[in-house]
Symmetry: C2
Subunit: 400 residues, 2 copies
């Protein structure tokens, strides 16, 4: 791993122990878990062991874990599957403006099927107010989906409080814990959610394996129909090696969580302190209630794209939620909802730290970044004139 | 691989070259293809190379390949996505009784959304009659989905003829080529289909990678909404190693197809000849127009489960479409549609051969199998009394 890889929110390098656990299932143990002979049964056993490991990570029962192929699939499955299962009781859904695109765009697709969706805003820390959720509830509300922790601004949402409200109104609650599960404690019993999405490559597991927790007794319609894999709830030949890797990664994450959190937290605090010394740079998200390894900022007068390119020239990998650098070419809904001016949101920069990062790497970033900002600002007419000039010029249209 | 693994239709052992191609993408090349730096771009390039390899296997353009996680996902995506995209023009769909559960059950889920589905029967060779498809077309028909080759009886369906009919009526045609692509020539231009599903682990590639061919200009709604991966048609972080493996497996299959087909065909013919020497054993599916490596039979008076267990005791792996051995516990719709009496369908046995199988392994099966049949028949009262006795006794209910 590059020592200055600070984009763990995009994906994590896999741990060697995880790869080693997967290895036999690529080779001699190639059976299909649905086959009723030894080769198949060994594959099936491996999947069931992984199910126990993943369940343990989030304090669920193994039977409450449904394996999927990605966090996006889990989110689509949860929101759509529960909305469709409950549509006899109503067709109103509530999500927040901090949701990942896989929840946001699933909600939009449901609108086309006649569902009504309320998009609750976030405050300037990126936080959803449970009271706003409560006020949005109608007699038709059947499903609420609120992200556990934002991958863009790091804020951890008050899921437990929202769950209490949902429970009171007999509404099912899903939370997208893709960015949080395996990185901070996630306990489905404590959170009292009905469904939760998590993804292996966010906690040093493989790509291609993810899961959805579905509380015992909760109704859902499948997203993928076919065979009776995953208790008839998700068809398709199980990706055995990836599922085994997810299990191993979950086991390791559960064991090492406090250590990992402490490690990335002190690095993040060090980085944040260093970066906030630069003028006109603002932390985004909640200052305390946030993912321990995620440091997110907006830098005035310059753009995410330029920062990423110059960081890269120094071997530093980061991300940006700004329009010009994400391939989706849209302004970040969460930054907009937080009240960050569109002009300023162009200067979004996100450093997401991992267990392989070191103090030296952070210090190198702290040393390089102010120079990068200075260089870009020196090149930018807007650093002196302000963004007003730019906006008057018609630049930076969404999608530009 | 076990030398007597004759269940390649369940899954294939992966080729060592495929694993070697995947290896770097588990380790140093762990980037997310959506990231705009070198690590991400290398992953993206690897995905695009795989897209070219898969496209070449089926004579498609790379832009017409959408990666998914399984053949089941591709089938759900194709049928549901096209049905939903075209529902403004009508809500009638046509599928056959030879379809895989992932098409059959998706069709059933669409019925619940107000679609009307015609299930065209097959003849006693498991063959769909294009004229029957033609007669089923109404003004409301928008999508036809017919399997390319049956994984249960091996029959290759007359897709080209059905495509001509579909084209004439401006109806889109999907074919499930999961069992055929990579095992026999599949040319989307020649078949003139609008969409086609294929899966890597059916041609010695990894589990967790599959694809859908979607003809340029064809409309579809996503099954998984979210980010803009796969041209906005299928969200979720790409399973880079598995996709790379699928590409390599496609490249190898394209290069070796005639050799592989010749190998499994002569083994299948040898096996079929040997097995049909046993009394009261019948070949299922078309005698000639069939998957070269798939030998399928019904054995009168005994059950698939018993045969599989005794075969296994001799180290021979096979499958059965019968109710008691498939975990789905349902009588095989294709056998029922073919007119195989329910009682006889319990004696279904399927040997699917692969490139690692040898003449010696086949000969061993030919030697063992008659003894297994004899042993089971000796134990069975029905071998003398016939199945009528059994049915009168109330045994063998569906799902039993």
């Amino acid at each position: 791993m590059s020592v200055k890889y600070f984009d763990h929110i995009a994906t994590n390098p896999m741990l060697p122990e995880v790869f080693d656990a997967m290895l036999p299932y690529f080779k001699e143990q190639y059976g299909n878990p649905m086959s009723m002979y030894d080769l198949g049964m060994k594959a099936k056993q491996a999947v069931e062991t992984a199910r126990e490991q993943v369940a343990k990570l989030i304090n669920a029962k193994p039977s409450e874990i449904i394996f999927t192929s990605s966090g996006a699939e889990s989110n689509n499955f949860a929101l759509k599957g529960m909305a469709m299962a409950h549509q006899g009781s109503g067709k109103h859904l509530i999500i927040s403006m901090a949701e990942h695109h896989s929840v946001l765009n699933t909600a939009r697709s449901l609108e086309k099927l006649g569902f009504v969706v309320t998009y609750v805003p976030v405050d300037n820390h990126g936080m959803v107010d449970p009271e706003t959720v409560k006020k949005s509830i109608t007699k038709e509300t059947t499903v609420i989906s609120i992200i556990h922790a934002s991958s863009e601004v790091g804020t951890i949402e008050p899921i437990k409080e929202i769950a209490a409200i949902a429970k009171e109104h007999k509404i099912v609650l899903h939370t997208d814990a893709v960015a949080s599960a395996g990185n901070i404690p996630v306990d489905v019993k404590d959170l009292e959610v009905d469904a939760l999405s998590l993804s292996a490559h966010q906690f040093y597991g493989p790509k291609g394996a993810a899961a959805m927790y579905l509380k015992t007794g909760q109704r859902i319609l499948p997203l993928i129909y076919g065979g009776i894999q995953e208790g008839g709830r998700r068809a398709g030949t199980e990706n055995v090696p990836a599922i085994v890797g997810m299990g191993k990664a979950a086991e390791l994450a559960a064991a090492d969580l406090p250590k990992r959190m402490a490690h990335v937290k002190q690095l993040r605090q060090r980085l944040t302190e260093g970066i906030l010394k630069i003028e006109k740079v603002h932390l985004t998200g909640h200052p305390e209630i946030r993912l321990p390894g995620l440091a997110s900022f907006v830098v005035e007068f310059i753009e995410g794209e330029g920062m990423l390119l110059l960081l890269l020239s120094k071997g530093i990998y980061a991300a940006s939620g700004s329009a010009c650098t994400s391939k989706a070419l849209k302004a970040s809904p969460v930054l907009v909802s937080m009240g960050v001016p569109t002009s300023m949101s162009h200067g979004s920069i996100v450093f997401s730290l991992g267990i392989g990062n070191t103090t030296e790497a952070i210090d190198s970033c702290i040393e390089e970044f102010p120079q990068i900002v200075k260089r870009l600002r020196d090149m930018s007419p807007f650093a002196k004139e302000g963004w007003g000039a730019l906006e008057a010029s018609g630049g930076h249209k969404e999608g530009a």
